[in-house]
């Protein structure tokens, strides 16, 4: 992509139309539209089962103005890989001549948990496809159950805060690093509040000539318990508190911090405490109780540990 002005981006085809049934304040359509602005080539989209899939394609309606396919929950990467394999075969045989791009959208359950095997396999095989995790940090489509991506201390319907429980006790998998460890050409973390950073990474992912992975934080007003007009502000807060650093990894070795995260690392912006992140969301409100203070401190320590490690990786 030669340019990245809002004026030019507005000229790109609208691949996901309005009128879908996602909740007010859901970040998923914002992220998907930004991702799809990352290429000028025709795109075939696949979706793993989840909020985004059901909300955009309830028969006889579809919100997709580009080829779209869904098969099941844990196999989004294999679905996308199948479309790409057909494309490679037909292109080699001269039955298709145009360049096309392929992307799968999955929730965090369909990425971190049930979808991990198919995702790992597709990345290892080197399909020319991008896998995007719309990470709202829980099984929102089934009613806010904890996943391997759920933040520590979050109260969900299967990790509820209670008299003797502070919500989810475990730390989320570092899925972006897991994917980077596949040594794929491109892996990145993004946030919808910084569209320039997001679209630029989407473009790198689409054009990297192999498999790519993008992990997008996707604030969920229903599951995270915040007013629906604050979605973008909440996404920004995740970056400012370093619970969701913005970075990219090329070929599993070249780590680069980007945007606000780079400014924090360079001392040009403040690194905010994790309590700011907790205070903005109802799912963490129980952590304000005095008895969970040591638990909150342990979360801050883990956030710091991961942030320090990431800075080291980026300074290699």
């Amino acid at each position: 992509m030669s340019t990245m002005s809002l004026k030019d981006l507005n000229k790109l085809p609208v691949r996901l139309t309005s009128g879908h049934r996602l909740c007010a304040g859901c970040a998923e359509s914002i992220i998907a539209r930004q991702i799809l602005m990352g290429t000028e080539h025709p795109v075939a989209v696949s979706s793993s089962t989840g909020c985004f899939e059901v909300s955009t394609t309830i028969f006889p309606y579809t919100s997709w103005n580009t080829p779209w396919i869904h098969t099941a929950f844990g196999n989004g990467a294999a679905t996308c890989a199948g479309v790409e394999a057909a494309y490679q075969s037909l292109k080699r045989q001269g039955k298709i001549t145009e360049e096309m791009r392929f992307v799968n959208f999955a929730g965090d359950g369909a990425t971190y948990d049930i979808g991990l095997q198919a995702l790992s396999g597709a990345m290892e095989r080197g399909h020319h496809m991008m896998f995007v995790c719309l990470n709202n940090e829980a099984y929102m489509n089934t009613g806010i159950q904890r996943s391997g991506a759920t933040g520590t201390g979050a109260s969900t319907t299967t990790s509820p805060a209670g008299a003797i429980s502070p919500g989810k006790k475990e730390f989320p998998k570092d899925m972006t690093l897991v994917m980077a460890a596949h040594n794929i050409p491109f892996a990145a973390q993004v946030s919808p509040h910084n569209w320039r950073d997001l679209i630029s990474k989407a473009n790198k992912g689409f054009e990297c000539g192999g498999p790519s992975f993008i992990n997008a934080i996707s604030p969920c007003p229903r599951g995270w318990r915040f007013p629906s007009e604050q979605t973008v502000a909440i996404a920004k807060l995740a970056v400012e508190c370093c619970v969701w650093p913005l970075y990219e990894v090329e070929h599993g070795t070249e780590f680069t911090l980007t945007a606000e995260s780079k400014r924090i690392a360079d001392g040009k912006a403040e690194k905010r405490p994790v309590t700011d992140w907790f205070d903005a969301q109802g799912r963490y409100k129980h952590l304000r109780q005095e008895k969970w203070e040591p638990f909150v401190e342990s979360i801050q320590e883990e956030v710091d540990r991961r942030w320090d490690r990431l800075q080291k990786l980026c300074s290699l």
Partner: protein, 388 residues
């Protein structure tokens, strides 16, 4: 000029048929006793003898997913599996048919765990029978080859558009070397033709959405469309069998019969046991017993009218099942009884469970089933050869 006969095992014969068809995509995962199919096919890919994009997936679930998506994208696609592999694919089986993707899957029929067992029975494919796939059975290696060429013609017919299973008994056919008469490759290619998808996903100028969510109304309607497509598949299968006979000289039917017309007692079997049953029938005939046997080659769509006609006026029908719904019957038995309900007089109907987990079934075993029926010893459900 016909090509030379070959000595070849069942798996390699299936792979050879697919080499001649030259599909666009194959995605597969190794599992005994299917593995030789994808090994031989990998050789063809490695030697540049096919145009196929071969996707070596990390599981059977992904194998069927890749195939379903690939066929939806507009590519002719095939795969092969068995036993646990088919079980692992189960989630995708009804999705593949509901998405109307006419891909072909060879199943090297093998027992399903547990206990783990690698030998032949029909536990794998019977667990797949309710999923909206056409299902064809083969008696021998020649038929496994022929069914592989016939299957895409039935599945891809624009009024059918359903996926199709080609069954061949594990080890008994997959690993047995038999003499077959293959067709010329150009004959196969002409017979199968170019694949034309109805709504290919890769046609981005005419974007379509595949695999949407249905509410109760549309779900039921879409399932009913599969019922209609299956009914159409029954007609198409007969037409394709006729066309195939013209190019090969080999005649196939939805229900294969052996000496059934004047028989008083018949056995119904699936797969390689049909050959064993024919040998038993020959012996019985020599002894003066009016015996016959039949195989529903097309198991789905279930050819119930032909089977009812077959059972008309018989004294006894032994329905032989290489699978068991524990606590009920073998799967074929209640279906044969349902077919027999069309008759004014319903023959004696006996279920024989046999061959589970690879228990050998001989000519004498099948002969004993007829002797049971003639002597009135048959129970409603019988466990042939079980050691108590």
């Amino acid at each position: 000029m016909s090509p030379k006969d070959m000595a070849i095992n069942g798996d390699s014969a299936v792979a050879f048929a697919w080499k001649q068809i030259d599909p666009d995509v194959c995605a597969a995962y190794p599992i005994t006793p299917q593995t030789i199919i994808v090994e031989r096919f990998s050789d063809y890919v490695a030697d540049g003898e096919v145009h196929t994009e071969f996707v070596c997936v990390e599981s059977e679930h992904s194998a069927l997913t890749v195939c379903t998506a690939s066929q939806s994208a507009g590519a002719r696609t095939f795969t092969a599996t068995a036993s646990q592999g088919l079980a692992y694919m189960w989630e995708m089986l009804p999705i593949t048919s509901a998405m109307r993707t006419p891909l072909i899957m060879a199943v090297a029929n093998r027992a399903v765990s547990g206990p783990i067992n690698i030998n032949n029975d029909h536990g794998d494919v019977m667990a797949a029978r309710d999923c909206g796939w056409i299902s064809l059975f083969s008696e021998n290696v020649q038929e496994a080859y022929d069914m592989s060429i016939i299957a895409p013609r039935i599945a891809e017919h624009w009024d059918v558009q359903l996926p199709c299973l080609v069954n061949l008994d594990g080890f008994i056919l997959t690993h047995a070397i038999e003499r077959i008469s293959p067709l010329e490759t150009h004959t196969v290619k002409e017979f199968v033709g170019e694949y034309k998808a109805r709504y290919p996903l890769l046609d981005h100028r005419n974007p379509v959405s595949h695999g949407l969510m249905d509410g109760p109304d549309f779900y039921y309607q879409h399932k009913y469309q599969l019922v209609e497509a299956m009914a159409k598949a029954a007609q198409v299968a007969e037409e394709v069998f006729k066309e195939f006979a013209e190019i090969s000289g080999r005649e196939y039917h939805s229900v294969e019969r052996y000496l059934c017309d004047d028989a008083e007692y018949i056995a119904i079997v699936l797969g390689s046991s049909f050959g064993t049953a024919k040998a038993a029938v020959d012996k019985l005939r020599a002894e003066g017993v009016k015996a016959g046997c039949a195989m529903p080659r097309v198991y789905r769509p279930f050819p119930e009218k032909m089977l009812a006609e077959l059972m008309k006026g018989k004294k006894g029908v032994a329905v032989m099942d290489k699978h068991l719904s524990i606590g009920a019957y073998g799967p074929l038995y209640p279906e044969m009884i349902a077919a027999a309900l069309d008759l004014e007089v319903i023959p004696g109907m006996y279920n024989y469970i046999y061959g589970l987990g690879g228990v050998d079934v001989t000519v004498d075993h099948i002969k004993s089933i007829f002797e049971d029926m003639v002597e009135g010893r048959s129970e409603k459900v019988n466990f042939l050869g079980v050691k108590l």
